[in-house]
Symmetry: D2
């Protein structure tokens, strides 16, 4: 019921913020893939809390353990189960969450939907769940790189501060700064803004841009499972995401067809388009150009301020912000966006094997 | 392989633009639902071509026929098959499409993916396929209205011309004009712009806004199948869509958490939020407030102008626009957006029956 | 909700016995497959009623029409919709079914499950539904034959009369007689028995044996979707089926391991087994030997005799047999068993493409 | 790819015989269910090795740990992950399996399908995997018992030794003896036979009968997902199973319709059938009578004898039996059959909520 993603390269995740462990089963990873555990850990490290002054100071190690599906360093075709223990389970005072509904959190909706709720640290609705996606996404990346497909995301906007278009950036520089924006000047402004917001005990939203290079032509299924529809589904399933656009996106609505259409040409080796408003996808199927997209993240709901709310009995209460939280979620969202994109691409790469005789 | 949508209230569509027929099987419509055929036809009529001067002048009647699953006016629980014959199958000259790839169409990607292509009128990638969705969506609406859930979409932007926020509009007026914008003044400007673009033999994009009212609390599945992720998947699967946002959307990224959070209060009858940046969805689950979202449509790729392209042999060619096409797709997209939203909501309404003991 | 079968080579069927039409959408047939319509019709003709004195005398032509997914004789990768009109829809007196529950039919369970029931000719529970499977299965066969895989079924038992083991039979002779048993002597006894039962206004059960030759090694998914589990699922979904066994089957339970194990040897070209108690499947995966299985069909529930039953109000009533029905279902079940086996094999053949890098 | 089972009450399993752990994620268990851990352990104990002289002497404790989805003793609606550590992972000599293919095992087919194979103890194809099913099935049982549905299985045949029909047995006595046959006299013969076979360093097959009582009317989906088709799929997915039949089964093929049909009557409270050849299922849907079925298990492939085979290079080799294995699998299969039946019933119980308005 919503905890699985993907059809052939398929994952199922589990775990709450303060339970024994979180984890994922990957079912459908082709056999024979070398599983580089160092790479998986490095991806998890990019997501983990406590990386810098602009992320939460909470410390989680996010050490993973592969329980199955890998033998002598290679995938066997059997399901790969990965577990990440929750080390930070100390008993805290959660009475403010247990009885009350934090504004713009999932407390109220879970309570009504399920009638019972693991309120500790947000339970299943905690962003901690995304660590499982990052571990699975790392394996998807290992699979994709064999076909040359690379996936990079970066922070392209924080509040009003925007980075230049990705085509003018060197995406190898994303990890050079703590906000994960490859443009140094913009990054500095973003960091300053996040720091300012943090001191105001507030939070701020932003945008992560994803870029998929070297896609084969022909990935994506027509009609309901267009490549961008699956990407959108994947991204909108990440906590705090409010929007998704690809290629020309919302801006493209303002253009005329004569401006927006991407003319084809032959570069001598293959068929290309001169412009790429299509974002590498035409008719829901990849055309070999860069696939690029934006993912909008709202400001984190947990703020270090008092807010009005109601409790389970419907009585009005004041909810106070507690704990160590991110003032801005986008720097840590970068590897999550990449992971979800990798899972989508791996799934379609497998599906494409069945498209013609 | 991408032609089905939904888990419990599930549809599978078929059909090409110039084949014998298009249609849909709805599997999972609960038994006992009164199937109002007049309503289904009225929904199809909203989508059909040739409605006004700002839509294509192509004439299609889109008369449907129910082949199964309905007995004495009620659904029986068996799959409901609906067929719409393609009456306009006259033999045309498609050589310009058969051998060449129209810019920003699906010609090239289909050719590579499948190695064979029904090029007549775009084949499976034709927007004609959406008629099947509208028919199925009409039945989903009949199911939803029993729970009080209503779904309305309207044109909120054409090019640069924007309508006011939906909360200030009377959505009952959407059908009062040919562009389907409930604000008369805006509608007139939109119509004028589309007409101007049409005379320039060009096309233009726009935005459709959807509003779902009276949703029960508790619809949507956590993690990957959040309610807005399913809505996004549904919308991004519609031809020509480039983006999806809900609630505060992309604009929300610029706000602070203290501005964006929706405080809860008790209105005496039930728990409400004072603002609705959440767009009626928290943690991926409906909270009972209005669910609203924007869907971005690019300008139609078929323009009545010459464009550079390549043919199947990779030789550069000039492609000329032919036929009768929409200068702007959004007015006819309104019922499609509603249909897809209805399918998502019907599916989650059924799934919610299984969420607790 | 139960009207779809298959994961990659996937079908969804629709239609009631006395509705406008029955049919099927095949989603996932790879593009480029030559669709031999003559072959599809010949398969449908093997299933249709009125073929001989031992089948129902009801006449149905079962002429099919392809509505989509085929262009210039080849599959395009788009869903293939096939429709078979119900020509024999004349208004009959169904009051005996409408108000009462026929013993061992689906009348009672449908009534309780759905609260509404298309009682005409059994509605959705009519075996007429299997024509859609046969049409889809014919296309699956066209796909399989490209890999050399052949599928043959035959009647191996009627009542107590049993045919010899398949390995001693020439399966090309199955269509030589009306009972579809390739052993002439046995066939004559079977025909005589069915005729005798028919004159007694009674019915009788039997067994259909299926044989799949030239399977590639490696088809089938471990754990829940073992090849024989999918075959069993497919066969048990056919009307009137009561049991499924493969390889040594139920008899195999009486053997010792030392008798039952199939020793491997190398025949110079490939690895083979000396015996084949495994029925061509080990660990749920094909090993290249013949896959063979038995499908048990109960005697048809409709008999030309009076039976005690109850009506919708729970009052006891006498139900009388009416209409033209098969005294024994197995001869016409042969192409259905083949069709379902073909659908399973086609699905696993596509899935196997994703099993290793 | 075959490691998930169920649509709404859905499980995904992982784990190899000699990896770090095996386990399962249950996605779709309704919230609010009391999770009785003592009961889960007792079910696992029924399956574990080393229970008696007629099962393998291998010792595994099969202690489980719930990692997620349960809070304060109740299911929360989040996925329930259960892990069972593999404690018996000592490094053994597996060279006889690593290089050679054991007859009637999955060694050869896995090798061809995946190109890589975790040969230790059979890897993923080990029956150890069924412990995860039993844990999940225990939770399904806890869910079903709330609706009064009970599931009992027992050993009804070992070799040629058969127990009387279930209707003459007291199923509460199944656990009274080590072979799990509720008829004492038959049990003694079965035990003697298994012991004899064991001393011969051989193995023997048998049959497990399952009985589901107090099913609601209306469970099962028509056409492809008939209740018995899902049960058959579930049972045939258990290691070593060769056949499945329900109700009258294969024997029923010998009857006339007039003998086989189950006449309806009204017992004053509800509609019943006088006989139950239907096995509680009509048209694929439960009718409220007992659902009963037989599951055929072949003799265990591992025998303590030398057998001819080939190695990975295709050279002929002698494979010798090693280790501690079951001479007959059926006593330990009883809880597995029950678990799979419970998973099927739980899934259909949830699905039935969506069948009518």
């Amino acid at each position: 019921m919503g905890n699985s993603f993907g059809k052939l390269f398929s994952i199922t995740t589990f775990g709450e913020s303060h339970g024994a462990a979180i984890g994922v089963i990957i079912d459908g990873c082709p056999a024979g893939l070398e599983i580089d555990e160092t790479f998986i850990q490095s991806e998890l490290d990019r997501r983990k809390p406590g990386q810098s002054k602009i992320t939460t100071q909470r410390k989680e190690d996010d050490k993973f353990k592969i329980l199955s599906g890998v033998f002598e360093g290679k995938s066997t075709g059997a399901p790969i189960a990965i577990e990440i223990e929750n080390t930070d389970q100390r008993s805290k005072d959660y009475s403010h969450i247990a009885e009350s509904f934090r504004p713009s959190h999932a407390d109220y909706t879970y309570e009504v939907k399920y009638g019972v709720r693991d309120y500790r640290g947000g339970g299943r609705s905690s962003a901690r769940e995304t660590a499982a996606r990052v571990a699975a996404g790392a394996i998807a990346k290992l699979f994709l790189i064999r076909s040359g497909i690379t996936i990079n995301a970066f922070v392209s906007q924080v509040g009003e501060i925007k980075a230049p278009h990705y085509t003018s950036l060197d995406l190898n520089k994303t990890e050079d700064n703590i906000v994960r924006c490859p443009d140094v000047a913009t990054a500095e402004k973003m960091i300053a803004l996040i720091d300012e917001v943090r001191l105001q005990r507030d939070t701020i939203g932003g945008i992560v841009t994803g870029v998929i290079k070297n896609s084969l032509v022909g990935l994506g299924e027509p009609v309901f499972d267009k490549l961008h529809a699956a990407l959108g589904h994947a991204m909108l399933g990440i906590n705090a995401v409010k929007g998704f656009e690809y290629g020309s996106g919302f801006e493209g609505t303002r253009l005329r067809g004569s401006q927006h259409n991407d003319e084809f040409y032959n570069d001598g080796e293959r068929i290309r388009t001169r412009t790429n408003h299509s974002g590498g996808i035409q008719g829901g199927i990849s055309n070999g150009e860069d696939i690029y997209f934006n993912v909008a993240f709202k400001p984190v709901a947990t703020i270090m301020q008092d807010q009005q709310s109601v409790d389970k009995e419907g009585k009005e209460v004041t909810v106070s912000g507690k704990g160590r939280h991110d003032p801005c979620v986008v720097p840590r969202a970068v590897p999550i966006v990449e992971a979800m994109a990798a899972l989508v691409m791996a799934d379609f790469l497998l599906m494409a094997k069945a498209s013609k005789i």
